[in-house]
């Protein structure tokens, strides 16, 4: 119970800091929108079947924009020196990780919640909300967990803005493959049996890396 309260306290802190300026969130949303627009011109999405290419476009927008938010997650704490404060408080390291991961997950989800309807609107495509939203949330979960851990690593290196994507993308390729395939399956209204392999991979990835990141996080933030 105490552990849960600590997690919530970290989440509350991050949300309060973000809601005061909304800098990070607005940057993420604008960036995702820009990715959609650029893809439209890069690939001439007008003529093609958007249900085929759309899942890739969406996930590129989600991950690229997500990386922006994840990068700020620890870089901001480092710059303001508030990470020391968090670490000095009598809070379990695991709770710090879960709190940061939860707030990152929430920020990315908010960005996706704005991007997804815009994508539907811009491409005149109907959204099968039911399987789509759980798929996207599951993909975001693994991405946020992994991103939170590696953001803490990257924030301490010399070239942190560049380091995060270099670390995060190679290890999130399986997640990305599964998320793109599932989203594509949902957009094309395919049967679940067609994509169930991908669903399993996504679940396996989420579980493994949530547990591992939770376990190793203390080694990353400890001075």
């Amino acid at each position: 119970m105490k552990f849960l309260r600590q997690v919530l306290a970290i989440v509350q802190k991050d949300l309060a800091a973000e809601l005061r300026t909304k800098e990070n969130l607005s940057a993420m949303v604008v960036f995702a929108l820009l990715v959609l627009v650029i893809f439209n011109f890069a690939f001439e999405l007008q003529g093609v079947d958007i249900t085929v290419l759309g899942s890739g476009v969406l996930w590129v927008a989600f991950t690229f924009s997500g990386i922006l938010g994840l990068g700020r997650s620890f870089a901001a704490e480092k710059d303001k020196g508030s990470l020391e404060g968090v670490l000095l408080s009598p809070v379990d390291r695991g709770a710090v990780f879960l709190g940061k991961a939860t707030s990152n997950f929430l920020f990315i989800t908010v960005m996706e919640a704005v991007t997804l309807p815009l994508f539907a609107l811009l491409n005149n495509v109907g959204m099968p909300w039911f399987p789509l939203i759980p798929y996207i949330l599951l993909g975001t979960l693994g991405f946020a967990a992994m991103g939170t851990l590696l953001s803490a690593v990257a924030a301490s290196t010399k070239m942190r803005e560049v380091m995060l994507p270099i670390l995060l993308f190679p290890v999130s390729i399986p997640l990305l493959m599964a998320a793109v395939k599932l989203t594509g399956g949902a957009l094309q209204a395919r049967a679940f049996a067609d994509v169930s392999n991908w669903f399993n991979i996504l679940i396996v990835y989420d579980v493994i890396f949530l547990v591992v990141a939770f376990w190793v996080f203390e080694y990353v933030v400890e001075e």
Binding site: V153, T157, L167, V216, Y219
Partner: protein, 231 residues
Amino acid sequence: MRNSDRRLDALGLATLVFVIAGLYMAFLYAQTEVNMGLVYRIFFFHLGAVAAGFFAIIVVAVAGIAYLRTNARAWDRIAESSAEIGIVFCTIALLTGMIWARPIWGVWWTWDPRLTSFLILWLIYIAYLMLRASARDDARVARFSAVFGIVGALNVPIVIMSARVWRGISPVLFQETQQGFTFGLTPEMTQTLVVCITACLLLFFYLLALRTRLEAVRDELVALRRARSAR
């Protein structure tokens, strides 16, 4: 002569014997394959490098876990050395695979599950070494790289599984055919393959021992310099 020197020399000698035997067997002992002709012989070196490339990332992860548990610099030295040697074998595996694919498949590159998995493994090695280079001055570099090594190695089986599903191949753990086609291995070919893979793994261990020792000597040097300037 120290005891460890003697052991290292014995390992080097064994490596040399196996490498020479492997070269002899790959070029002269194993008969030419009927469908592919001489070009298939690159396979013996390719699979050896693949084995060493995979093995190295396991060493990186295991040494990383051991480092996080014990905090002993020796484990970090092993992890760093293994990653450096691993990326060399990984590059050799990718290049030999491409050289083989050109005459057989007609293309230098195809997004075949095995090639794809190996390319991603290669990228993970690159990220690992870049992280080390970027955080070199930080006292926590060993911990960062241990964490990334563990995460990277855990990714490898998932990558292999998803690359197979991606190409519409059901996710089985053991591949039933060699490289997408069934080629009957004659007993001579199998023997050659075993010798070549053993040679590559021995070479990996030998290089790992040398590289780890170099790092240890370097640490010693830094300590000596520091002690001198403090005086």
